[in-house]
Symmetry: C2
């Protein structure tokens, strides 16, 4: 039975794993993210000698995902400067001589859930992660969606809550985008303490749920997903999900009805794969790369 390598490439850590075609994770390690020169040797060493059929990468973006482009699989205008213009896909292909699949970290997580998790029964779903940043993964017709580049849904523009004490969002690009107003660093800037130290402060989570719900309403108006998954560190606050659902209901104001919107508990859901959705999605990307190269699953 073929084994697949999976890399979940994040801004603070790189999770390397080995999984099988059932999505079972058989081994995993975590390596801190430094510069490509410092970090890549450890990643390559992990995957070497493991007799893998292919590797899948879910990577922070923006990434060039246009297969017709000479820069396919290259990290683009990332705020992580040392990784900007780094051809991560090609480096893995050349060093390991294996088929390699790549997508954004959030598309990989959305894919993991769509293949093995809570969006198995639907064709169109989105995965939102709220942590250091805010990311949006989009599955359309069962496949990760890209379009021209790929969704960067953390940067949609927001209607600020009038009583928000923070004057400007923390995103260096946009004064009022979702990530700038609702990411972990935004919470810390607004309230002067880290999100995890504010668990008991109702105002913090009502403000956060207001912005997340507003974004979700806009996603519903744009993408009309059949199910919405919320993940990431900020969503580990258990009070968030009920608050977000209540706010989505309030802010939609009945404009769209029926289907999932009649049962928000089953429409807006937490991750179902115990935060393994990212590496499991990367395993699926590896499986697809293997199959495209003639491998039999």
């Amino acid at each position: 039975m073929p084994l697949f390598g999976a890399l979940e490439a994040g801004g603070t850590k790189m999770v390397c794993a080995v999984g099988n075609a059932q999505g079972k994770i058989l081994d995993r390690v975590s390596i801190p993210t430094r510069t490509p020169e410092e970090t890549m040797p450890g990643l390559l060493n992990y995957f070497r000698g493991k007799d893998l059929a292919a590797i899948g990468i879910g990577c922070f973006g923006p990434i060039d995902l246009d297969r017709r482009s000479p820069g396919y699989g290259t990290i683009m205008s990332s705020p992580k400067l040392s990784w900007r213009n780094f051809a991560i896909l090609r480096r893995f292909q050349e060093e390991l001589d294996l088929p390699v699949g790549i997508d954004t970290d959030v598309n990989a997580a959305a894919l993991g859930e769509a293949v093995w998790g809570c969006t198995r029964e639907v064709s169109n779903s989105i995965y939102i992660t709220v942590g250091t940043g805010v990311g949006l993964g989009v599955i359309i017709n069962g496949r990760p969606y890209h379009g021209m580049i790929h969704p960067e849904g953390g940067h949609i523009f927001m209607d600020r809550r009038p009583d928000d004490p923070m004057v400007r969002g923390v995103c260096p690009y946009h004064p009022n985008c979702l990530e700038g107003l609702a990411s972990g660093p935004a919470i810390e800037r607004r309230w002067g303490r880290k999100a995890e130290e504010l668990a008991d402060c109702t105002a913090v989570w009502e403000m956060e749920a207001y912005y997340m719900a507003q974004a979700i309403c806009s996603y519903i108006m744009m993408i009309s997903p059949e199910r919405i998954i919320l993940g990431g560190g900020v969503m580990h606050q258990e009070q968030m999900l009920p608050l977000v659902r209540r706010e989505v209901h309030r802010q939609l104001r009945g404009y769209i009805q029926g289907k999932g919107l009649d049962d928000l508990d089953n429409y807006i859901v937490p991750v179902s794969l115990g935060d393994n959705q990212g590496v499991m999605g990367a395993v699926k990307l590896a499986m697809d790369a293997y199959a495209e190269n003639g491998g039999a699953l």
Copy 2:
């Protein structure tokens, strides 16, 4: 050669047309939209006796477009009250005994452009119409996109311009959605005169371009289209397109680069089918319904 009926069902008028499989419109009439009881006989009479192979409908929404639903082809929570819950698809099928295809008016227009117009060369595009309302048609992988219901992109939430003299948008559902701030009625409410009487007033169109550009930036972040078409009455103001492009460039602030964004003149474009995109898209819906029923094109 088979002939196809096309209906562009709008809130103020119904455009009935006959076209061929090349998208050529051979005949068209316009009928005012009143109640279904008053309006339907005229529509049915138009299509009767024309020896049509099928009919396609592009209809104002929201519409039930779930083929597994018993209400497939029924108008849902429309503000046009007499049409609410009207099973427009079934009525045409039963009265004319023909295959009938249906989609939203904006998806039909997006499809017309995708098959015969300015988005022929791309797989993923959006069509935005700004008039009495703001509508969004979405083409993904060359096909009209629906998801759970269908996009209602006129109702995404907006960051208000601080100097906007209008206190609340005109949408009865949402205080700060795109349609409420940027539709024709919003312009009239804000400035006290109809949009067409304000052509020379720079402030009007700069405000309008600000909101349209903001929405377009959010659409780019969510759907990452390969090309964006702007249509509808408000876009007949020739000064709008350059203003919108300039504002999109300014508001994105370089966060996403490359591809279409390096050449906004070819990325954000006007309609190419002389406002026939809606009926031509409806012809394509008819062709698809015909083919699904075993017809040969």
